[in-house]
C-alpha cells in the first residue's frame, strides 16, 4: 500500500447537516386529446415534439383472465393468440413481417396479461406510417396458420419445460394455484404444458373474434404526432372495421383462500424461494391507493420494513419485497424473497412479525412522510419515455379511472394518515389466511416449516 498524498486544501465544509432540497417543481400528467371513432375505438393522443419518435399502443380490454371461458384448460390462449398476430396475415408471411419491422429499425410487439391484449409499435417519425400500417395489418388480418401455431406451441412448451429450473417460477406457480383455487387467476398467463398442447387454430379464432374488436380497443399515440395526424392515420387503417363479438359476462371475483403450506421440489436448490400471501383488492377498489401505500411501507421499496429486516439486519437474502398485484377482477398481495435453505423458517417468522406489527401499530410520522415523499417524488421519473406515458394514459381507460386521476393521486397519497395505514393493514392483511409457498430443497425444510401448517409437497413436471 502506497503512502497517501493528502491535498493541502482543508475541507472546511460542515457536512454533518444534509442540504435542504429546493421546492419541488409541479408535475402534472401531460394533457391529452381524446376521442371515440364512429366504430367505437377510444383514441388518446399526447403530442410531444422533443424527438422525432412516435409510439402507438393498442390495448384490447380482454386478456388471459378470459382463457378459461374457451375450455376447461385453455390457459395460455390469450397470450398465444397475441403472439400469433405477427406470425402471418392475409398480406404477409411471418418472415416478411419480421423483415419489414427490423429493416425500419422499428419495434412491433404483441402480448397479453390478465387484463388485456396489446399490440405496440414504435419508430422514428419518418417510418411511422409504414410501421403503423404493419401494426394495423397484424391486428385486422391475422391468418393463424396451423404450421405457425405448431411452431409457437413447441417453443412455448420448451420454455415451460425450462421454467421448472427456476425456483421463483415454481414458488409463484404453486402460490397462484393455492391462493386462487378455481378462479381464472390460478392459471399462469403463459399457460401450462397440458393447456398449451391442447390449443388449436379454432381456439385462436374464437379468442381473436371475442377480444380483438374496435369497441374493445383503446389506442394511445405519444410523441412527434398531432391529434389530427393520429386520428387520420387510425381512420385510414381501421374505418371499416366492425365489432362482431358477443359480450361475455365477467367471471367471478376470487374469494379469500384458506391458509396452507406448499412445498415445491427443486432439485439441487441451494436457496429457498418464498412467496407468501393471500387474496387482495382489485384495481378499481376505492381503497387501492391506501393499500398500495401500506404495501410500499411493508415491502414496496428498498428502505421498506421487509427489506430492512431480512437483508440489512439479518443478512438472510439479497432481495426481499412485497407486491400488491391488483387486476380488473381481483388481486393478491404477497411477500417474495430467496433465502438460505437453513433459515427458511426463521425468515417466515420475521415476515409474520412484520405483518403483525403493521396491523398492530401505527407507523411513525417520519416513516409515513418518507414513503409519501417517495411515491409523489417518483412520479416524474415515470414520464420519461413515450411508452410509459402511453401505458399510463391507457390505464385510465382500461381501469375506468378519472382523467385527472394521476394529478389527484399525489394529493390523495399526501392526505393519508397513520390511522389510515393501520386500518388498511387490519382490513387487508390476514396472517391466518396466508399461503406459504416455498420452492427448494424440500427434504431439508419439510420438518421445520410444519410449524406454519401441514406441508403439501408438489413434484414439478
Amino acid at each position: 500500500m502506497k503512502e497517501l498524498i493528502i491535498n493541502n486544501i482543508e475541507d472546511k465544509l460542515d457536512r454533518s447537516v444534509p442540504p435542504i432540497p429546493g421546492k419541488p417543481k409541479d408535475i402534472n400528467f401531460p394533457k391529452f386529446f381524446e376521442t371515440v371513432t364512429s366504430n367505437g375505438i377510444t383514441v388518446l393522443v399526447i403530442e410531444d415534439r422533443k424527438l422525432p419518435l412516435v409510439t402507438a399502443r393498442f390495448v384490447f380490454k380482454q386478456g388471459a383472465y378470459w382463457d378459461s371461458r374457451f375450455g376447461i384448460n385453455k390457459a395460455g390462449l390469450g397470450s398465444i393468440t397475441a403472439e400469433m398476430l405477427t406470425k402471418g396475415t392475409s398480406e404477409r408471411t411471418a418472415t416478411m413481417i419480421a423483415d419489414q419491422t427490423d429493416f425500419l429499425g422499428a419495434t412491433l410487439s404483441t402480448g397479453a396479461d390478465y387484463d388485456a391484449s396489446y399490440v405496440s409499435c414504435y419508430s422514428l417519425t419518418k417510418h411511422f406510417d409504414e410501421i403503423f400500417s404493419l401494426a394495423a395489418d397484424v391486428i385486422r388480418n391475422p391468418m393463424f396458420a396451423a404450421d405457425e401455431l405448431q411452431r409457437v406451441r413447441e417453443q412455448r412448451l420448451n420454455s415451460l419445460l425450462s421454467m421448472i429450473d427456476d425456483g421463483d417460477y415454481l414458488a409463484s406457480r404453486s402460490y397462484r394455484q393455492a391462493v386462487y383455487k378455481n378462479n381464472p387467476f390460478s392459471f399462469s398467463v403463459e399457460g401450462n404444458s397440458e393447456s398449451v398442447a391442447s390449443i388449436d387454430v379454432g381456439d385462436l379464432k374464437k379468442f381473436y373474434e371475442f377480444a380483438f374488436s374496435p369497441e374493445n380497443l383503446i389506442v394511445a399515440f405519444v410523441g412527434d404526432i398531432s391529434p389530427e395526424e393520429a386520428v387520420s392515420r387510425l381512420e385510414s387503417e381501421f374505418a371499416g372495421w366492425q365489432t362482431l363479438s358477443q359480450k361475455m359476462e365477467f367471471p367471478a371475483t376470487p374469494e379469500m383462500n384458506s391458509s396452507g403450506v406448499i412445498l415445491t421440489r427443486k432439485n439441487g436448490a441451494v436457496q429457498s424461494s418464498l412467496r407468501i400471501g393471500h387474496i387482495s383488492i382489485h384495481r378499481n377498489d376505492p381503497d387501492f391507493i391506501k393499500v398500495s401505500l401500506m404495501n410500499t411501507i411493508l415491502g414496496g421499496y428498498f428502505t421498506s420494513r421487509i427489506n430492512k429486516n431480512l437483508r440489512e439486519v439479518h443478512g438472510f437474502t439479497y432481495s426481499a419485497r412485497s407486491a400488491l398485484n391488483s387486476h380488473r377482477f381481483g388481486g393478491d398481495i404477497s411477500v417474495l424473497t430467496e433465502v438460505k435453505t437453513d433459515i427458511t423458517s426463521a425468515t417466515i417468522r420475521e415476515i409474520l412479525k412484520e405483518i403483525n406489527i403493521l396491523r398492530d401499530t401505527q407507523p411513525e410520522d417520519e416513516e409515513l412522510q418518507n414513503v409519501k415523499n417517495f411515491v409523489s417524488g417518483n412520479f416524474p421519473l415515470q414520464l420519461e419515455t413515450p411508452n410509459s406515458i402511453a401505458t399510463k394514459a391507457i390505464n385510465l381507460k382500461l381501469y375506468g379511472l378519472n382523467n385527472d386521476y394521476y394529478n389527484t393521486y399525489i394529493k390523495t397519497v399526501n392526505e393519508l394518515t397513520k390511522e389510515d395505514i393501520k386500518k388498511a393493514a387490519e382490513t387487508y392483511l390476514h396472517p391466518d389466511k396466508l399461503v406459504f409457498s416455498i420452492a427448494g430443497d424440500v427434504d431439508s425444510i419439510v420438518n421445520d416449516v410444519s410449524e406454519f401448517g401441514k406441508p403439501e409437497i408438489i413434484e414439478p413436471n
Binding site: 422533443k50 424527438l51 429499425g105 419508430s123 432439485n267 428498498f302 440489512e312 418518507n370 409523489s376 420519461e384
Partner: protein
C-alpha cells in the same frame, strides 16, 4: 427500394460542459430541462480486474459497503435520502469499473452531491456492517449464479477466454475470498481506488451549468486525493487452442455458448462485430433465428453478445437447444454459419438493416437522462471523450460492408474458440421424454 440512409443524420447533438477540480475529479454536465429530473453518476476506475489473488469479489462487495454509511451518513441512509426525495439509486460492478447512480427530482441535486462526496471522502466500514453485507453478497451469489439455471455460464466463459489476466475470475468472487475480507483490507481498497483522481462525476438533466458547477466545487473541492494508485497490469494472452468444456447441471434443456476473444472497446473491430451480431442474431429477421429457431427448430432461442472490455473483448454465441436435438450437431452448424459469413459476408439489405436499427435505438435510449449519464461515464473512463456519445453513429457508418467479414475471418475463428456446454444432469431421461411427447 428507397434508401433510408440518405436521410441519416445525427439530428440531435448531446452537448456537455466539463471541468476538472484541483484534486483531479473530472466532472461532466449535460443540461436537458424538458423533465424536472436529474441523474448523478459517479464512475470509479476500479473493477474486478484490479483484484489481487485472495481478494476476488472485493470490488463488488465494496460496492455494497458504499451504501453502509460514511462519516455523516448512517447505514442505509444513502438510499433513505434518495428514496424520500422520490428518486431511485443503485450501483453495479464490472471488470473495468464500478458505477454508482441516482436519478431524482431536480430539486434534490444538492442532496445527491452531498451523499456522493461523503462516501468518496469518508467511508465508514464497521465489522458489523461488513459481516452483514458478506451474508447479503453470499446470498446474491446463490440467487444470481449458483441457484439460477445456467447461472455460472458467463463466469465459465471468462475463466477460459482470459486465463492469467484480470478478467479470468468472476466479478462476484469466491465464497472463500468473500468470507475472509477484513475491515482493514476494505479500508485499504477504498484509500487506494476511491480517489477523486480515479473517478468521474457525470450530472445530466434539469440543471443550470453555473449553479451545478458551484455545487460540485462546494462538495468535492476539499476531498483528498491518492495520486499513486497501485494497480495490477492486465495482460491478456491470446487463446491458442480451441477449448470445449462440459458442465452437468439441474437443467431441462442443454445450452451452448461459443465464444471468441476479440479486440477491445472502442476499436474499429468492435463496431464491425456489432454488425455481425445483429445480422446473425438478436431479432426474428436475423439469419440464425430464421434457420435455427424458425426453419429447422433446433434451438429454442439464441443470441450473440458482443461484450467489449477495456483491454480485450468477448463475443459470445449462446443457444438453448431443443429437447432431443444433438448439441454437437447444433454447435457444428452454428460454426458453419460463422464460416459462411466470414467467406461470403452480408447483403446490402442486411447491412442497411443494422444501420437503420442503430439510428432508432440510439435516439430512443437517449430519452433517459440516466442512460446518457452512464454512457458518458464509460466514454470518459475508457476514452476521456464525452463527445463519443455523438460520434458513435459516425463510427458505425465508417464501417464498410466488406470489412465486417474480414474482421470475422480474423477474430471469430474455430481454432481459437471456447465452447461451454451446459447439459442436463440426467440427459438420457430428458431425451426420452422429449421423444415420447
Amino acid at each position: 427500394m428507397t434508401s433510408i440512409l440518405s436521410n441519416y443524420t445525427s439530428e440531435r447533438v448531446i452537448k456537455f460542459e466539463e471541468f476538472t477540480l484541483g484534486n483531479g475529479l473530472h466532472c461532466i454536465m449535460h443540461k436537458d430541462n424538458s423533465n424536472p429530473i436529474v441523474s448523478v453518476t459517479v464512475g470509479y476506475k476500479v473493477g474486478s480486474k484490479d483484484e489481487r489473488k485472495g481478494l476476488h469479489g472485493i470490488a463488488h462487495l465494496f460496492e455494497h459497503m458504499m451504501f453502509q454509511g460514511s462519516k455523516n451518513i448512517k447505514k442505509n441512509e444513502h438510499f433513505g435520502h434518495i428514496l424520500r426525495s422520490g428518486g431511485s439509486c443503485n450501483a453495479f460492478t464490472m471488470q473495468d469499473a464500478t458505477v454508482y447512480f441516482e436519478t431524482l427530482p431536480s430539486n434534490g441535486l444538492e442532496t445527491a452531491l452531498w451523499l456522493e462526496s461523503d462516501r468518496m471522502n469518508s467511508l465508514n466500514i464497521t465489522e458489523e456492517n461488513l459481516e452483514n453485507q458478506k451474508s447479503v453478497v453470499l446470498e446474491e451469489k446463490k440467487q444470481v449464479f449458483d441457484n439460477a439455471p445456467y447461472g455460472n455460464m458467463f463466469n465459465d466463459v471468462f475463466r477460459n477466454l482470459f486465463p492469467g489476466s484480470g478478467y479470468e475470475h468472476s466479478v462476484i468472487g469466491t465464497v472463500q475470498d468473500i468470507t475472509s475480507f477484513s475491515v482493514e483490507g476494505a479500508m485499504n481498497f477504498h484509500r487506494n481506488f476511491y480517489s477523486p483522481s480515479n473517478s468521474v462525476l457525470v450530472i445530466t438533466g434539469d440543471i443550470n451549468y453555473g449553479i451545478t458547477e458551484n455545487l460540485v466545487r462546494k462538495y468535492f473541492d476539499g476531498l483528498r486525493t491518492n495520486y499513486e494508485i497501485s494497480r495490477r497490469p492486465n495482460v491478456i494472452a491470446p487463446v491458442e487452442n480451441s477449448i470445449v468444456e462440459d458442465h452437468y447441471d439441474n437443467i431441462q434443456l442443454p445450452a451452448i455458448n461459443i465464444c471468441y476473444q476479440v479486440p477491445a472497446a472502442g476499436s474499429h473491430e468492435e463496431y464491425a462485430l456489432d454488425y455481425f451480431s445483429e445480422i446473425m442474431a438478436n431479432s426474428e429477421s436475423s439469419r440464425l433465428y430464421k434457420k435455427f429457431v424458425y426453419e429447422e427448430k433446433l434451438v429454442r432461442s439464441l443470441g450473440i453478445m458482443n461484450y467489449p472490455l477495456a483491454n480485450s473483448g468477448a463475443l459470445m454465441i449462446k443457444a438453448y437447444v431443443n429437447p432431443g436435438i444433438d448439441v454437437t450437431l447444433v454447435r457444428e452448424k452454428l460454426m458453419n454459419e460463422v464460416k459462411l459469413f466470414a467467406d461470403e459476408g452480408c447483403s446490402e439489405r442486411e447491412f442497411e438493416k443494422v444501420r437503420n436499427s442503430l439510428e432508432f435505438s440510439s435516439m430512443a435510449k437517449h430519452l433517459k437522462v440516466q442512460n446518457i449519464a452512464i454512457e458518458t461515464v464509460f466514454n470518459h473512463l475508457n476514452f476521456e471523450n464525452a463527445m463519443r456519445i455523438n460520434e458513435d453513429s459516425e463510427r458505425y457508418l465508417s464501417v464498410k460492408k466488406n470489412e465486417i467479414s474480414e474482421v470475422v475471418k480474423k477474430h471469430v475463428v474455430d481454432a481459437n474458440s471456447v465452447v461451454i456446454n451446459y447439459l442436463p444432469a440426467n440427459a438420457t431421461l430428458k431425451t426420452n421424454e422429449a421423444e415420447n411427447r
